[in-house]
Amino acid sequence: MLLVAFTLIPIFFTFLTSFKFFRDITSGSLRFTPTLVNYQRLFDPAQSNFLRLTSNSLIIAAGTMAIVLVIASLAAYSLSRLPWRPLWSGLLLGTILFIHMLPPVIFLGPFYLIARSLNIYDTVLAVMMGHIVLNLPTATWILLDFFADIPKELEEAAMVDGANRFQSLTQVLIPIIQPGIAAAGALAFIFSWRDFLFALSLTSTPSGMTIPVGISSFVQEYSIRYGEMAAGAFFAMVPALLMVAFAQRYIIKGLTLGALKG
């Protein structure tokens, strides 16, 4: 029980603070008049660029999710169902697992140069580039398990009926692993949404920035505007809270990648 309380108290405290007037935050009393003023200020384009950052975050997360899902499901299909020699599949899977373990700070310099040379520095594309690398390993590993669970006969049956491999993949296999695609996609979305480091170092203005970068600069500039800080932090947590509510098992699998099998 203690750990549950320890986990929930900061979230609850932040949640409450986000609905308080400044005077109620500083009075320290338990009673307060709830207000939406912090959220209104946060999303008022005249006072803050949070609206812009939210749309950036959504574009980047959705784009990352789409690209990662296409690449990862093709690769997972290939590696789990087609006759690769163990040397090659092992090499590829080992590489992406290794990438997953490296601190992302290592990629900053090269990614900065790539973004500069492609002229995409400070755009959503640059951040998306970083997030694709961040998310490919998890998505591929999750989908690999799903593909491996489908009996071989199913695909063979489709091909006897005259489907080619591409058709059997898109019309037979993909529909079956939909839950896996949903889980991998949701995780890619969340991990793109919550990333700070890439968004921080590959952007410099609100035209490419994401919500975490906005919150961080807000916190450091106005360390006293508690209400809006809390509102921003709570808003940023909403996708995660929604995820916890709906899909657990595969998220756990993705998060503990490399430690759990089956």
Binding site: L3, T7, L8, I9, P10, I11, F13, T14, T17, T26, G28, I71, A72, L74, A75, Y77, S78, L79, L82, W84, L92, M101, L102, P103, P104, V105, I106, L108, G109, P110, Y112, L113, R116, M129, N164, R165, F166, R194, F196, L197, L200, P212, I215, S216, V219, Q220, Y226, M229, A236, M237, A240, L241, V244, Q248, I251, L255, T256, G258, A259, L260
Partner: protein, 310 residues
């Protein structure tokens, strides 16, 4: 397929479309892996090559273009003389060791207690998933509010139970590191909990039952059956957590930015500062290379001893 009925008819020449279809089918394994390989080449292999090149060069951006100058091992000399490097390494080690030990212990105790009740398992699984999914920046912001000297939750509670002078937490050189560690416990104990719980749940229950029937006390069951069976899971979890702990960045960036002084300066944060604040791309890349070297050693150990556990 060759039935007598078919052979009586003259064979139809395959159309161009179906020949192309056959070609795609036979080479499908290459088509499907190609996107991944291309992305890995562009966004991992090429950046790795750039990283190696940058770590022996000075790189400047002039009018949006990178200007390279080869400097050999100059960055190694700089690193050896840089007083922040040993401090950052020391802080990172203290941080990693502290969080791994405390989180393992907490997670072990809680998962053993919780695994007895199906009800609790569901609740803990749900609640403890939250910290792993919310943005670390939001975690940092939350804990800034919690630690706030005047209006933070912690100090308000301390005042309520009678403390006259309350600590400044992240601004206190002595308390800054423990404060940061506490936030990490909030964030990552769940990770260890989920792995250890999965290990406990995959354990055969009959052995425990048999021991109890033979008159073993709960403590004996734990000490001589559960823990030894859990050992491989624990080793895997600890190694993985150690590797991930080196990634720590966001929360410290927001809570202390490495301060006060260099009290919480960790290696990822310092690399970022050299890269972004001082804009020394070459030197930052050299340090990043050093860090990836350290992590590689851990990963090799992990693959050697950790993986067959799970």
């Amino acid at each position: 397929m060759q039935s007598s009925l078919d052979s009586s008819l003259p064979p139809k020449p395959p159309s161009l479309v179906s020949r192309f279809g056959n070609f795609v089918d036979r080479t499908f394994q290459y088509w499907t892996i190609a996107p991944l390989v291309i992305v890995l080449l562009m966004l991992v292999a090429y950046p790795t090559f750039q990283l190696l090149r940058m770590s022996v060069s000075e790189v400047d951006i002039v009018k949006g273009q990178a200007v390279w100058e080869f400097v050999g091992l100059k960055h190694l000399e700089t690193a050896l003389q840089d007083p922040v490097v040993p401090t950052a390494l020391k802080n990172t080690l203290i941080f990693v060791i502290a969080v791994v030990i405390i989180e393992t212990f907490l997670a072990l105790v809680i998962s053993i207690l919780v695994s007895r009740s199906k009800h609790l398992v569901g609740l803990y699984r749900t609640v403890l998933l939250i910290p792993l999914l919310v943005p670390p920046i939001a975690i940092g912001t939350m804990w800034r509010l919690m630690y706030d000297y005047n209006y933070g939750f912690i100090n308000q509670v301390l005042k309520l139970i009678g403390f006259v002078s309350v600590p400044t937490w992240t601004a206190d050189p002595q308390l800054a590191m423990p404060s940061v560690v506490l936030v990490d416990l909030w964030h990552w104990t769940s990770f260890m909990f989920l792995i250890i719980l999965a290990g406990l749940e995959s354990m055969p229950q009959e052995v425990n039952e048999a021991a109890r029937v033979d008159g073993a006390s709960e403590f004996q069951v734990l000490r001589y059956i559960t823990l030894p069976l859990l050992r491989p899971t624990l080793i895997t979890a600890i190694m993985l957590r150690t590797i991930f702990a080196f990634k720590v960045f966001d929360e410290i960036f927001l809570l202390t930015s490495g301060g006060p002084g260099t009290a919480t300066e960790v290696i990822s944060l310092y690399i970022y500062k050299v890269f972004s604040g001082q804009f020394r791309l070459g030197y930052a890349s050299f340090l990043a290379l050093g860090l990836s070297f350290i992590i590689s050693i851990f990963v090799i150990f992990y693959r050697r001893f950790g993986r067959h556990a799970a």
